[in-house]
């Protein structure tokens, strides 16, 4: 087991500001605080080489968890251990074994070429020159950075920058990698490149990875295991497939038909959408098997094309949030 979180809680104390000048003046003398429970007894374990998705709506506590695990924040109560160490104690000794990427922040020196930031990180992490060279070459090749290394960071596109951020966080060969929204704001092509790379790092180097994201395609392509958090509590933890099953067993059938509207009313099905001759139907395979459903449909429609798929993960998550009233 590489990562252990046990009953982690974090309370923030935030000054309460009431609107208006009078209240503003009052707050100079007397401050009132609101206590906000960002994490409420969060527990999980992650094994070596796992690639875990950590998802939840805004304010759910994702970033707070990542910040505690990476040693930046101290939890109000509970304990956590990463690689056998307590992150927030002996922070300096701990962080050399982990890599962190915050998608909304930058660790590269804005006005300097990317390579300068890499060289500085080499010295900060005391990476032996040989390891550094080999590692750097590999990361540059995998991420296709050759042509952008000498460009000042401020002139890079968001996608290029993210690739450089990923490389920067891996130069010291960490065993654990925390990715906080690494695909935020990226275009489709960059997203694919980033995902490909994350997969590769996980597979070929055996790096244990936790990734938070709002992009469900990230989860779908990368993670076998998903932890869902909402209002500071863990709502579900397990393989993507059991999350699907727990929330809704429905599968989705999309058929293209010839003209005609015969309406339909088959037990265990629900018409989600009708776009001219294209019907989207959700069905529960426990009540009606796909074969059965198709044969019934084919008696009333002339079917031109047929497609069965899983409902998109966004809808599953939305349903889960909805059910738990988040």
């Amino acid at each position: 087991m590489v990562i252990l979180a046990k009953d982690l809680s974090k309370t923030y104390r935030i000054p309460r500001r009431k609107p208006g000048i009078i209240n503003g003046l009052k707050s100079i003398v007397h401050r009132e605080y609101d206590e906000i429970l960002a994490l409420d007894k969060v527990s999980f374990q992650i094994d070596e080489g796992e690639l875990v998705g950590y998802i939840g709506p805004n304010e759910a506590g994702k970033s707070t968890t990542i910040k505690i695990l990476s040693g930046i924040l101290t939890p109000s109560s509970g304990e956590c251990k990463v690689l056998g160490k307590i992150p927030y104690k002996d922070r300096i000794n701990y962080v050399k074994d982990i890599g962190v990427v915050f998608g909304q922040r930058t660790q590269l020196w804005w006005d300097l070429p990317v390579i300068d930031s890499f060289e500085l990180l080499k010295d900060i992490y005391k990476i032996p020159p040989k390891d550094y060279l080999k590692n750097k070459e590999e990361l540059i090749e995998w991420l296709g950075l050759t042509n952008i290394l000498n460009i000042p960071v401020r002139q890079l596109s968001l996608g290029q920058k993210m690739c450089c951020e990923l490389a920067a966080s891996l130069l010291h060969s960490p065993k654990v990698l925390f990715l906080d929204e690494p695909t935020i704001g990226l275009d489709a092509v960059s997203k694919l490149a980033v995902r490909e790379f994350i997969k590769k790092i996980n597979k070929e180097r055996g790096v244990t990875i936790i990734i938070t994201t709002h992009d469900m395609d990230d989860i779908e392509t990368l993670c076998n295991r998903v932890i869902v958090i909402g209002r500071g509590q863990i709502l579900s933890d397990g393989p993507l497939i059991s999350l699907r099953n727990a929330v809704s067993k429905d599968r989705r059938l999309i058929i293209e038909i010839e003209e005609g509207d015969n309406g339909f009313n088959i037990e265990g099905t629900r018409l989600v959408n009708r776009d001219k001759n294209r019907l989207t139907i959700d069905f529960d395979p426990d009540i009606i098997s796909p074969a059965n459903l198709i044969s019934i449909l084919s008696t009333s429609y002339k079917i031109k094309d047929i497609l069965i798929e899983n409902p998109p993960i966004e809808e599953i998550i939305a349903k889960l949030y909805g059910r738990l009233n988040i």
Partner: protein
């Protein structure tokens, strides 16, 4: 150590790029210097009483102050302030390196690189000015050496104060308030506006005990030979003691703050 040298190097390199800022600084400091020196000239020529230091020493003192202004801790590190404001400071906290020393290395570059760019042209200009307004050369090589040594001492005090400003930004987010306050204190108490020997007796005695005394007054007066070379150990010692006190103080505040840090934004 290597890491800190790298940080100083990278930052130094970066700061050398800001040439327009350097030129603007040179012009501003030149005019400020001229004004201060002319005011002093007026005072000196309207009194017949003996003054604590002679006019040429006072003018040289002013010019050293203006030339070395970049080394004075009258502002924080803008980059660190913006890191704190945006929350990018999180990345500083995941580095396997002491945050205080890391920021100290940055402060070191901040206090040296721009000073380097500005001091040489300003000294040249001040030396070429007519004798009544310009600066004079040190009386001997020892005075010059003592100036180099105590300037290094001043640099250490300046970096520790700069770091305290950086750290207090963690408390107040913008750091704007403390910087205004400090800027006024440093300007006055270091002798940038009026050389410390010209202050009234009682105030002067207190000012001589404060760390700001080590920023400009001590180096400048060694330069002019006003303080003799054989007192170097005492004064350099004074600077080191203050630098150490401020170092410990800064480390302590930072350690206290990091325990209950809150990161801004998402």
């Amino acid at each position: 150590m290597r890491a800190y040298l790298s940080i100083i190097k990278i930052r130094f390199n970066l700061l050398l790029q800001y040439r327009v800022a350097a030129i603007a600084g040179i012009i501003t400091q030149f005019f400020f210097g001229m004004i201060f020196v002319m005011v002093l000239h007026g005072f000196y020529s309207s009194t017949s009483k003996p003054m604590p230091i002679n006019f040429h020493s006072a003018a040289t003192y002013i010019w050293i102050g203006q030339a070395m202004l970049g080394m004075m801790p009258w502002n924080g590190d803008k980059e660190i302030q913006s890191l704190i404001r945006t929350g990018d400071v999180t990345y500083e906290l995941i580095r396997p390196i002491d945050l205080y020393d890391y920021w100290f290395a940055r402060a070191f570059a901040l206090r040296t690189a721009p000073t380097f760019l500005r001091a040489i042209p300003l000294f040249t200009m001040a030396l070429l000015l007519p004798k009544d307004y310009g600066m004079i050369l040190p009386p001997n090589i020892f005075a010059f050496l003592a100036w180099i040594v105590t300037t290094f001492g001043a640099l250490l005090i300046s970096c520790t104060i700069t770091n305290i400003i950086n750290i207090t930004t963690l408390y107040s987010i913008s750091g704007e308030g403390i910087i205004r306050l400090l800027s006024a204190i440093v300007n006055l108490f270091s002798g940038l506006v009026v050389p410390l020997p010209l202050f009234p007796d009682k105030i002067r005695q207190i000012l001589y005990l404060l760390p700001f005394n080590g920023l400009l007054n001590i180096p400048a007066r060694f330069f002019t030979g006003d303080i003799p070379f054989n007192k170097l150990i005492n004064y350099f010692g004074f600077q080191l003691i203050w630098a150490f006190i401020l170092y410990v103080l800064g480390k302590w505040i930072l350690k206290k703050k990091i325990k209950n840090i809150i990161v801004q934004g998402g």
